[in-house]
């Protein structure tokens, strides 16, 4: 049976057309773009083309606003650390409780070691930002606001444009981690107040180990990695040429498929979601169904645990992911679902299905066919589930 891959928010398959575009840059066009000979010049113009392709996907005004990085995490780190250096006298960061660890771990470290104050803005039960708390946190001390465009676990989309305008009213810079949004939702940064934006290649059918930071023209910037003059001095180190070429091609393909993503992929996601809700009792969708990525659906199955669900799904050839504690090695369930106050009875059993343009109707059929029995098998074993049917609340461990 053909495996069903519904974990595209974790990573996507590199599009074969992307790989094809990359290959000559390993063996034939291997030059260093900085070199004063034809080998270098060819590569230099290829890099310029890639930058234009990304500019087109983001709808940004200038191609030199794109700075290539090793991925989304580096871009996030570079953006926040730069702002702290350029925003003299401002020692506060505002971010949300549902950011990726690339942002949350960094700001926690800065708060602990560098006399920086961090405001973590909470979300409501649907994962929407607490706008009132955000408004109150903004002030003359705010150096930068970093809030994601879309959440990786629930797909909830944040009103980044409005958030950026509010940040600017307070004189703060606005950065968004758009790793999950780029290639899935249309963007027009030329008309936007967003100052910096992070993206990652492998989330949009590009290669791993490559990403970019968009830095709007005029925004002062201090590099994270110092050394040579590459990327106009904003990111030193010889360019990862094949990966950059691949990222450019992936951006071009993402733009071509944008309509498909918004319509066909979204329709498949909706069919999957409605089908699961209809055939399985005691489960619900997490996140903001009215403002969500077209490819993501996160469903919490009550009274069972996510890793066990994934293992049984994997046995049936279906790949998805969970915010469950047990898959990550920690004991707390997903910080995103906890921030949304999803009860423990369900947070441990939340499964994220993330589709892509490569997902087919047959894939969705297969998941709809398999999931009811997977869930039923585990619930049969769960003390909480049985007790619900037989004696309400009788399961009573000594420590709870």
């Amino acid at each position: 049976m053909k495996p069903v891959y519904l974990d595209n928010n974790a990573t996507t398959r590199t599009d074969p057309q992307v790989v094809e575009t990359m290959l000559p840059f390993f063996t034939e066009q291997f030059g260093n773009a900085s070199s004063m000979h034809a080998f270098g010049a060819d590569v230099g113009s290829a890099l310029a083309k890639s930058r234009k392709q990304i500019q087109a996907l983001l709808g940004s005004e200038f191609d030199h606003e794109i700075v290539f990085t090793s991925g989304g995490t580096e871009a996030d780190n570079a953006a926040i650390l730069s702002a702290l250096q350029t925003q003299i006298g401002r020692k506060e960061i505002i971010t949300s409780a549902v950011e990726h660890p690339a942002v949350l771990s960094l700001v926690a470290h800065l708060e602990k070691t560098q006399n920086i104050t961090v405001h973590i803005i909470g979300v409501d039960a649907m994962g929407r930002l607490d706008m009132e708390a955000y408004r109150k946190a903004l002030g003359p001390k705010t150096a930068i606001v970093s809030i994601m465009w879309a959440n990786n676990e629930t797909g909830t989309i944040f009103p980044v444009e409005e958030l950026a305008q509010m940040a600017h009213e307070a004189g703060a810079l606005f950065h968004t981690d758009a790793v999950q949004a780029v290639g899935k939702v249309p963007m027009n940064l030329a008309e936007s107040e967003i100052d910096m934006l992070s993206l990652s290649g492998h989330k949009l059918h590009g290669p791993k180990g490559i990403g970019a930071l968009y830095v709007r023209k005029g925004v002062r910037f201090r590099p994270l990695v110092r050394g040579g003059h590459q990327e106009r001095g904003r990111r030193a180190g010889t360019e990862n040429v094949p990966a950059i070429i691949g990222l450019g091609r992936a951006a071009e393909l993402a733009l071509e498929h944008m309509q498909d993503e918004q319509t066909r992929v979204a329709a498949m996601r909706d069919r999957l979601e409605e089908g699961l809700l209809a055939s399985i009792p005691n489960c619900f969708v997490t996140g903001d169904a009215t403002s969500r990525l077209p490819n993501t659906c996160n469903i919490a199955f009550e009274y069972i645990e996510g890793e066990a669900i994934l293992l049984l799904m994997n046995k049936e050839g279906i790949a998805a992911s969970s915010g469950s504690a047990c898959t990550s090695g920690s004991l707390e369930p997903s910080h995103v679902l906890r921030a949304m106050d999803i009860p423990y009875t369900a947070a441990h059993g939340a499964i994220r299905f993330s589709l892509s343009r490569e997902t087919t109707d047959e894939d969705v059929d297969r998941v709809l066919e398999v999931m009811p029995s997977v869930i039923a098998k585990l619930r049969e074993m769960s003390p909480f589930w049985r007790e619900r049917e037989v004696r309400e609340g009788a399961f009573n461990p000594t420590y709870a």
Partner: protein, 307 residues
């Protein structure tokens, strides 16, 4: 993806003895839905012989939690209560062909459920010994309270000592930063209470990074003394192993000297050391101690490997 043994997978995909045991003689509930795993163990005991004739489980948890629960029932059926109570969580892990270090707590949960079920059968109240405070070392399930208590009681001043006394930090070592914070705080408190000299207290700014000893450091040290006779060497090896044994015994393990052949020292690890995923580290530690004591390069070989 976790590196589960085939036996863990087998016991997860096709668990034995899952379900409700009607008219059980003892029921043990441990864990909580908030922790991500919970287990109910139900046993039936034959009163005159004290033999556990039936056991069933219900588990909310990950793959290894379900496999551990099922393994537990398989192990205890047919055993007397006393025999079952002498089992350790390691026995459950061994039965399953080992568990990833981060999943060892699943076997601990099985052990606790057994004790809770037996207490329930005997009409006693089972008290868990879970302490307050954040769980620091997830590999071995060691919380902040236990580390603080051990540091205070034993006057510990280094991370290595904490690992030796509590195992915390001995697995994946991602908790190293957290351990340093607790150690620094507790040591500072001890200094201000006058029970620890300020110069010995742990201080992150002065802490030296542990360095893996290079091969040449293991060469014999020129002591000016005459080289040891073979008999002297073997005696010294014997004496050194005797000093190491109490540490291993504290964790339910043991180590005995089997033979010495030139610079090859054959030892046998027994008890909890058998099948322990850290036995490689134990052998390494024994070797370092012996080389230090004897002053010549030695190779310690666990006998299970020489046939």
């Amino acid at each position: 993806m976790w590196d589960y043994s085939d036996k863990v997978k087998e016991y997860f995909y096709n668990p034995k003895n899952s379900g409700v045991l009607e008219d059980a003689s003892g029921v043990g509930d441990v864990g909580a839905i908030s922790c991500g795993d919970a287990l109910r163990l139900m046993i039936k005991v034959d009163e005159p012989t004290q033999v556990i004739t039936e056991a069933k489980f219900q588990t909310f948890g990950c793959g290894s939690a379900i496999a551990s629960s099922s393994a537990l029932t398989e192990i205890i059926i047919g055993k007397t209560i006393d025999e079952a109570m002498s089992l350790t969580n390691q026995d459950i892990a061994d039965f399953l062909g080992g568990l990833p270090p981060e999943k060892m707590h699943c076997s601990v949960m099985g052990y606790e459920a057994l004790h809770a079920a037996v207490a329930n059968y005997r009409g006693e109240v089972w008290e868990d010994d879970h302490e307050e405070g954040a769980l620091l070392c997830k590999c071995f399930g060691i919380d902040e309270g236990m580390i603080e208590r051990t540091v205070r009681q034993n006057g510990l001043t280094s991370i290595e000592e904490i690992t030796n006394f509590t195992k915390a930090g001995g697995g994946c070592s991602t908790c190293a930063e957290g351990l340093e914070e607790v150690l620094e705080r507790v040591n500072a408190e001890m200094v201000s209470e006058g029970v620890l000299a300020a110069e010995t207290a742990f201080d992150r700014t002065r802490a030296v990074q542990p360095v893996r000893r290079k091969k040449k450091d293991l060469e014999p040290v020129a002591t000016g003394k005459a080289p040891l006779t073979t008999l002297q060497k073997i005696r010294l090896i014997e004496e050194t192993i005797e000093t190491i044994r109490p540490t291993l015994q504290r964790d339910g393990g043991d180590c005995e000297l089997v033979d010495v052949d030139g610079n090859r020292v054959m030892v046998k690890l027994t008890g909890a050391c058998v099948g322990c995923q850290l036995s490689g580290a134990t052998i390494e530690g024994v070797q370092a101690k012996l080389v230090e004591a004897v002053g010549v390069p030695l190779l310690v070989i666990p006998v299970a490997m020489v046939h």
